[in-house]
Subunit: 404 residues, 4 copies
């Protein structure tokens, strides 16, 4: 790897989490500290697999975490609740408590649409300067902005969405709120010259004019909606059925979950975005099978997510076969290592000069930006190939890229 | 495809089924007739998928079926029982009954170790000449021999297995039965110069000296043990878990099945071979997880097979997640289209001059000969690539290859 | 049983099915014919169990079937579709086809709210005289009216529901449709002096003034919504958990079904009544656990119903345990024997002089009329005790009770 | 309840656990301490249900725990391991650690067949005097002996089993080991005049001569093999299917478990006893269905037990329906409250003068002694009726019964 960047070339990298005090963010932060300190293995991290051996990425110990949130409950408090719920092991929490406390001190107030008096443009500039301050004060080569905030309800498209000038004008108008919070955060990342990752199904960069601004600013972007559990399994099994010429007639699913995400998704408007994002890939993969899908908020399950799928399939001579799957997991435990993987890979993308949607990161997402590929095995091939190509093409010394 | 063989180049191809009156064989024969006559689609046939569009293969209507069996129950009788059990649709059976009756007239007595007075060499020559007679009397370009007979118990290795001369001598000795029936059938295929496929977990070509003879005779061979249900699903899911860095701790499974296969596997000796063959791939894919596995003969399930798997997985920070799968299918309905696919692809292999184990056909097998690859997605890539390469490299006119 | 009525005492009994051409009705009619003719056992009929040996009930062969429907598709046509879907065995259908054709000739046009010009009172009188004609022309001792028509949407309560005079007046007004069709049918049964059973979750007798009329007319009534599958299982398991002091925290369920019922329940208004009826008992049995529940119309499942339940339970020292159940059945195959049981038991109730809701028949219903008992084992005890008491108290000769 | 014993009348009661340092024993001891101290509810305790309100039983705080074991790992150490495995909450353990340490000091060396030089009679007398010493030194009214030791392999019947004199003679012979350890412990309980409960499938009192001695000594006895999970669920569901006239064709099951019990049952001889005990009731309840059953030792599951059942059922007109259940629980968390319930109820039995097998306690057992009833709902009725009868018939003052 003499010609490529070495870990050292990356310098220190920032991870800026939108929703920094949530379950995913807290788990990722705790895991990063535990892995860096050697208290835990990086189980669940894709970028630690053998196939990435030759790919140069920042080391876990070279990240610094900060972020935005609108909640006052600190990361440490949140972690305590996660320990209490049985998701996080107490001893691990205790061994990295001080790092959590430190990270929490780097959390700044996010954009809360219920409270703002400033214009949305002012808000975005405020958020962007939080990110820049973080970069400068910690001597970071770059800051990866990652949205892991609560899922928002989908919004109606307005003319401003497709016209940069109209959009910019509307954002300056303190009486208007033309963009949802996720898009404001994404815009802030763009303003800060930061790579941006959307781990949620929220609107974010699904505003053409905003995406145009992102591309114009030369940052790599990736999304959308982490593919961690049921949807991931579907993207594994559906292409395999299809490779055998078996025809999916219906694929019905139910999700039970508690926690913060469960509470958010109890809102029928918020859940509708999630349901769409979850089902889009399956529809593509099965070519029009019936796909009823439910998400139920079942608070007594705590941080556990249970997903049941029933797949009705047509086989040889019109025969029927069924596959049922039941998936039980702590949801944030699946998401957190992906947050770390994405941080490493977006550092690579940025160092390599990628701009706009990095379709090869579709591996991580339910609704991939920049790609129509939903098959997990093909996404795996694409990811590995991309990472190897990027890594070998990146010239030494380009590791450190200026952010504005 | 001007340079490659066209369907027409293949002429007529024979399928010679060892176990021709069993459930898989009967279903495959019925399906072939129904598809050829346009009464049914080729759902479940891999070679009918878009990705094989450019691959030249014999058409369904260009096959003729014959075979060996040791049972007196005709294919039509067997099909009636399958209709009765709910597996085969009555109307389909009725529409192709005459073809079944015809095929059954081409079934010859197989090698029955309980009844033979002839030496095993004589038996093999008898079986081989049945195959040759079939080829000649129907004007077939080639005959694909496919073993779908009852699973045998594993046998002890003896010195003759690794020494061609000793083996041939022992075969001529009427007082000895050095090879199990599956190996006699495989040997007969070799003698007849036929491509040979082992769809069962029986010993077959797992006798080094016999395999040497097969390679020497220049025929392509493929096996072993059709990967149709639970094992297939495992080969889909295990690599995907591994691609995410999730660590399988245990993968426990239970199979419930009735029918002829269930009755055979009720014998603890017969089932041991099946269990080994089913588990080998999983052990490779998971690197040493605990894999308890059971096969229960539950006759009231008829032709239905139900497989339950419980997978215990280690994720981020030592957390645990579980996946449970329940697979319910008519087993022979999964196997039969593979029998047709294998017949087509072995015709291609033979036309292309392949000799010995065709590892690229590992896609179809629990325990692939000529390959250590168990990941279904990688097997899919390998299969497609192989088929495309073979198809394009095969010169026009080579479609018809002499069999001795 | 010398003092009680004998089978003979009952004479011939009519079963009048509202929704006579539906799946449940057709299956029940076919089953009755098959059992009567000795072509099938009465598997699934409660009243054939040993514990009912001493209870005197009409024999299967002593029933005659007729009914109302608003569909033109005959019972035989419907049965053919059920055979095609794999639910009904062809040979059985063929052996009783003529009985189905005969029964279908006794089906009269039901009350179709979309088409009526007559007042609702006129409609009810027309339906009632169909029932009376049926009784007289076939020399029946009594006619049991059983509603197995499509599930209706719940209706808003209006003042007429609680005031007999207002209700009767409104019914005579041709410009008004104060009652839903199920209530018109129930009213017709009352007018005909017939025992009435509501196997659906529709409004039916849940109109206090109408129920008052029913009680006044001295007929026994029973309902509501047949407890055949998932809800039945819940009423088995929930009391057993409670007997062990285990606390249900949540009981989440999903139903997948196709067929006519599935299509009807795809209508969000129709399904809401069903969901309420399904959940009421569970809430009682678990004392306020979270019980999210879904019914999905999955037409490719045909007549099959699949129900998945996930139960999260608190045990000793706050520990958690889970039970998951998956139930797969042909729904009408579960309902049909209950229709026969209810016909026999309502004949007993009528012969015994029962009036109004027979709570002891709660065994059969999701939402029992005349009882708050939802535990299946206690309902079993109640049913058996009631039947034995009725049977022994019924004097000989009272078997035949006049209907007006 | 003026005539019956009050809690006070029982005085202090001893619980003497054979296998006192095992998982079940440790959990029961911890739970008793936690409930007595008000740190936890008695969730999972049958005797705390409303229906037992009028039944007089010893209070939780009036028990003292001691026992035998052959392991040197203390209860507190065992509890720590259970906390580590995620089964026991840390804070609860910490709050009752001192009580566990105290209880552990009352544990005496059990009978270890691998080490004994004494005759079995001497061993039994040594164990019996441990029990008597415990009773006397803690001023206990009575001591309930409860076997929760490791499952033993079944033993061959010998002539001594049916002849008291031969048995007693053999026991005095130091060169013979005619009884398995569980029977020595049961004999010790008899010698100590203690009520005896067998929570395991081991031989214990299944030695007719030994049981004769037990009856002769006038103590109540109860067993066998705690019915906590899968078997319990079967005893709930099977009778309910039967009440509906549905016919079970096969009931296949698989158990996955780790922990000490899993390790013990990995021994094919030990597991055979367990499998028999688990299946006997199901066979009775289903009348001869096929019931394949497996228990797999899956150590990575820790204390979790997962049981999967697949039930194939014949319904109306020969149709098939299936029920699948998946049960996931911490096994000892199910057993521990039953240990407490049995201690309370055996105190009642003893105070009431019951002798020999108390069939009404069949509620708690897979293989009930003194009863052929396996239906859980009927067992519930029997238990409640028995407890109420005993409680009201017990005269005041009889609470304290002499033990020899
Ligand atoms: N497996 C997974 O966990 C998974 C998978 C895919 C997607 N996601 C998505 O990740 C997101 C986070 O999930 P979670 O379980 O951590 O949820 P959570 O409710 O625990 O955390 C969300 C956090 O976002 C904060 N927040 C809300 N609005 C904000 C705003 N405008 N600005 C800044 N912060 C804001 C909240 O205060 C909270 O701390 C959700 O959108 C979820 O759908 C999670
Ligand atoms: N999904 C599947 O169905 C599947 C998958 C993988 C492997 N297989 C294997 O395919 C084989 C066939 O399965 P099936 O369900 O058709 O079984 P089956 O019992 O219905 O048929 C087996 C047939 O083999 C015949 N036979 C037995 N010994 C023979 C001999 N020495 N020579 C010739 N014929 C002989 C029998 O008479 C019978 O007709 C089995 O070995 C099975 O393990 C099936
Ligand atoms: N396990 C079960 O099958 C089950 C259990 C409980 C309740 N139910 C209820 O039983 C009913 C019948 O179920 P199904 O599967 O037979 O449905 P279906 O759709 O096959 O049959 C319903 C029949 O009712 C007829 N109908 C509609 N409106 C009518 C009216 N006003 N008057 C007379 N006939 C009318 C329809 O034409 C149709 O023939 C449904 O309400 C269902 O919810 C069924
Ligand atoms: N749900 C349940 O947990 C459940 C249900 C039914 C039956 N059981 C039975 O309860 C028993 C205990 O289960 P566990 O999970 O606590 O097992 P465990 O292995 O954790 O504990 C068994 C204990 O018995 C001790 N022991 C072994 N032989 C002994 C002897 N001769 N004398 C005294 N002590 C001896 C061992 O040292 C160990 O401490 C098993 O037999 C099990 O089959 C448990
Ligand atoms: Na896309
Ligand atoms: Na009620």
């Amino acid at each position: 790897m003499s010609a490529g960047p070495t870990s050292h070339d990356y310098g220190k990298t920032g991870i800026w989490l939108i929703g920094a005090r949530g379950s995913v963010a807290t788990t990722a932060t705790m895991g990063l500290a535990a892995i860096s300190a050697g208290f835990a293995d990086a189980t669940g991290c894709v970028t630690e697999q053998a196939v990435f051996d030759g790919v140069d990425l920042p080391g876990f110990a070279d990240f610094v975490v900060g972020g935005h949130d609108i909640s006052d409950v600190s990361m440490a408090k949140r972690a305590e609740a996660l320990v209490e719920s049985g998701m996080l092991p107490l001893h691990l929490f205790e061994s990295v408590r001080s790092q959590l406390v430190e990270a929490d001190q780097r959390v700044r107030p996010g954009y809360d649409p219920r409270q703002e008096s400033e214009s949305q443009a002012e808000a975005a500039r405020r958020l962007a300067s939080d990110i820049s301050d973080f970069r400068i004060s910690h001597g970071l080569s770059r800051v990866i902005v990652l949205d892991v905030a609560s899922t928002e309800a989908p919004v109606e498209t307005v003319p401003e969405f497709t016209d940069i000038d109209m959009l910019l004008a509307a954002l300056e108008d303190p009486s208007r709120s033309v963009l949802p919070p996720s898009s404001i955060s994404a815009y802030a990342a763009v303003l800060a010259g930061s790579p941006y990752v959307c781990f949620t199904p929220s609107t974010a960069l699904n505003v053409p004019a905003l995406y145009e601004l992102a591309v114009g600013s030369g940052v790599p972007t990736a999304g959308q909606d982490g593919k961690t559990g049921q949807t991931w399994l579907r993207s594994v099994v559906a292409p395999a059925l299809s490779a055998r010429g078996l025809r999916v007639l219906s694929w019905a699913g139910t999700n039970l979950l508690g926690g913060g995400d469960g509470a958010t998704l109890a809102d029928p408007r918020a859940v509708s975005g999630k349901l769409q994002s979850k089902n889009r890939g399956l529809r593509e993969l099965t070519g029009g099978a019936a796909t009823p899908l439910h998400i139920d908020n079942v608070q007594d399950l705590g941080e556990t997510k249970v997903a049941w799928d029933h797949i009705n399939i047509e086989g040889f001579l019109g025969s029927r076969l069924t596959l049922q799957t039941t998936w039980t997991a702590f949801d944030s435990m699946l998401a957190a290592p992906m947050v770390l993987d994405l941080s490493r890979l977006m550092a690579l993308a940025h160092a390599s000069g990628e701009k706009g949607h990095v379709g090869a990161l579709g591996f991580f997402f339910k609704d991939p930006w920049g790609s129509n590929e939903h098959s997990f095995s093909r996404q795996t091939d694409n990811l590995v190939e991309w990472a190897q190509t990027m890594s070998s093409s990146t010239a030494a010394g380009t590791g450190i890229v200026d952010q504005q």
